[in-house]
Amino acid sequence: MSSETQKILTTDGIPLEVSLKKAERKNKIKAFLLVAPLLLFLLITYVFPIGDMLMRSVDDKMVTNMLPKTFKAMESWDGKELPPEEVFEAFYFDYKLLVEKKTFGKLSTQLNYTKNGFKTILKKLQRKMKKFEDGNYKEQIMAVHPRWENVEYWRAIKRRAPAYTSQKYLKGIDMYKNEDGKIVDVPEDRQIHRILWLRTLEIAFFVTLLCFLMAYPIAHLLATLPMKYSNLLMICVLLPFWTSLLVRTASWMILLQQQGVVNDFFVFIGLVPDDARPEMMFNKTGTYVAMTQILLPFMVLPLYSVMKTISPSLMRAGKSLGGTPFVAFWKVYFPLTIPGIGAGCLLVFILAIGYYITPALVGGASGTLISNQIAFHMKSTLDWSFASAMGLMLLAGVLAIYWVYNKLVGIDNIKLG
């Protein structure tokens, strides 16, 4: 054959490739139209919100838009000494405009985040500003309060110039940019997020482990029992799915609280004295118990679907070849269930890491997770950009776990059903 590729023609003389494309185009369009609604739905409900969330978490345009002239004038300022007259003048006009629009309060709040002490001096400036004369704004502003003579405050203003910021992400891991622009840890007694992240990972890990340990025998039983019994068992596994999450969590509260059924039983059989009932609710224990129960089906189902495909004759072969039941299980059966284990663990872990309702209801102070913190900032502090930042960090974490899993086990080895 020569190096020239010879085009294959159909009987009508049209190149085969063209003809094939033409023949398949209609089907492709049909297929696309069929999935188009879902694609649109996903775009609107998933891609856009996440994109918006990303923007919100880094967005810092508020201050940028409030002090446009100031930041323009600051561009040529090196930040070593007090800024020149133009900066003061620009700041005066920017601030005057804000005072007229009555939105200067927001500026003081924002600047106060960056450096404490802005609130007082901005308020004072607002009062004294009415009597300002034209020209020489530098001296007039500096006369309002000695802090205006401090270059640190002007540097703090300049730090808010960029329209985008990473400070919310830093805050999410208990770090911040200090006055020198260096990234440092917040004092240890004020760190809360790192503890939450670690606790979230810990709880997700142990819930996954507990689910795996409990689901494996159940799934095996499901896969090997005769149809008559396995159907019944399957209903028992799926029953929690058909019950409201809230109802299930609430019933755990009834069971596990200090005056609850389980504690009453412990006291009744004399396991614990009546005045020292263990606390099993509104702490980590409650979170573990309730989350494991709720996430168990997500482990059982992938395991079951994989085990169902393993021929029972493989175990028999293992035994007939001289393997003890344990060896036959460990060398033959277990390796074949790894795709199911991978799928189940990944599913449960990812669900657990972002779990919200159950820890919120039964977790108490020591059993809440990072998602509860996100909800807190969404609903209570209204710091949406911080909530977005933490949400994205969670998403990034999940993607990282997925990536690690893919490297270790290979994602093709996953079998969800």
């Binding site: 293992g318 007939s320 070849l321 393997g323 003890t324 039941p325």
Partner: protein, 362 residues
């Protein structure tokens, strides 16, 4: 070296799964060392259950199985040292061919170089040398079957069980595998218990065949005896082709009897399981034992009408209406002498009374 004629012994073995129906009924069966014995029967006849009891995956409900004179009912499968080939090969899909074969050796804690040697030997026995690093999924059905056979033999068991091992293969491959397994058996002298529902497989491979039906061994004998001399009508029907006449014994003598058929005519037959006049009987006659237009003198001579002629290449199958039996089959060798076979012709059919076996009524 004297052979142990009771290497495997089923002693009055019963098996029931639900406590209501006996799947195996009072089975007595002795298997000699080095023998190739086949359990043949329709599905649900209890043959696979017997094999599973021998392998240890089912326990007898009653009775005992002895392996080399030791009762084995309480020995778990992995301590019995019995090789087994499963219906769908049961190769471990996550292990290479080498690992599959090394599995029984590794669990026996055999040295690595010894394992390599044995695996090599087993693979060359099934002519699969060089396939060590393939995964079972990359092999064809026949190759997987060979690996399964090699794996069941690699740890030198004295007894190998095969549960319809060729069931999933196509016809040509099945036939060549039959010979291959037979040759392996002959060369290493291992005892083989083979389960199949395919009678031609059983006939070509076995030293002896146990025909199972309804939880019982109907007949245990060599392939030729089984075919030529079936002891009851089930065996006669199940093995090979068979023409039957229903009737009543009228004239019983020492080695002959007259049987009056339902249409009134009488034939002479060989009494096998009938003893007295008036008994109902099924007379069984192999198609190739009845001849047409023969010059030999035979004691049964009748005229039949040709109903159907089916060309089979080397022979022609002729369906006759003979003595009220419209399904009477004849096999006529394809030679120039037999050219007058045409539909609707009357034809002379004759056979020896010795070949017409008067068996139990169905």
């Amino acid at each position: 070296m004297s052979k142990n004629l009771e290497f495997v012994k089923f002693d009055k073995v019963d098996k029931s799964y639900d406590g209501k129906v006996l799947v195996v009924k009072g089975l007595n069966l002795d298997i000699a060392e080095g023998e190739f014995i086949t359990m043949l029967g329709p599905s649900g006849s209890g043959k696979t259950t017997c094999l599973m009891m021998l392998a240890g995956f089912e326990t007898p409900t009653n009775g005992e199985i002895y392996l080399d004179k030791n009762p084995i009912s309480n020995i778990p499968p992995h301590k019995r040292g019995i090789g087994m080939v499963f219906q769908n090969y049961a190769l471990f899909p996550h292990m290479t061919v080498y690992e599959n074969l090394a599995f029984p050796l590794r669990v026996r804690k055999i040295q690595k170089d010894e394992i390599d040697k044995k695996v090599d030997k087993a693979l060359s026995m099934v002519s699969l040398t060089g396939f060590e690093n393939r995964m079972p999924g990359q092999l064809s059905g026949g190759q997987q079957q060979r690996v399964a056979v090699a794996r069941s033999l690699v740890f030198d068991p004295q007894l190998v069980l095969m549960d319809e091992p060729l069931g999933a293969l196509d016809k040509n491959l099945r036939e060549s595998m039959q010979y291959e397994i037979k040759h392996i058996h002959e060369s290493i002298g291992v005892t083989v218990v083979y389960v199949t529902h395919d009678q031609s497989e059983a006939l070509t491979m076995s030293n002896r065949i146990a025909v199972f039906n309804d939880g019982k061994v109907q007949q245990l004998s060599s392939p030729d005896k089984l075919y030529e001399e079936p002891v009851n009508s089930f065996v006669a029907e199940f093995i090979g082709e068979n023409n039957t006449f229903m009737g009543q014994v009228t004239n019983m003598s020492k080695d002959q009897c007259k049987v009056k058929l339902n249409d009134g005519s009488e034939i002479i037959a060989n009494p096998i399981s009938v003893t007295s006049n008036g008994e109902k009987t099924t007379v069984s006659l192999r198609p190739e034992r009845a001849l047409i237009n023969t010059k030999d003198k035979m004691d049964n001579n009748f005229k039949g009408k040709i109903e159907e002629v089916i060309y089979h290449g080397d022979h022609t199958r002729v369906r006759l209406d003979l003595l009220g039996n419209k399904e009477f089959i004849l096999k006529v060798p394809n030679s120039s002498a037999n050219m007058d076979i045409k539909m609707g012709n009357q034809i002379n059919v004759s056979w020896n009374s010795h070949d017409a076996r008067a068996l139990d009524p169905k």
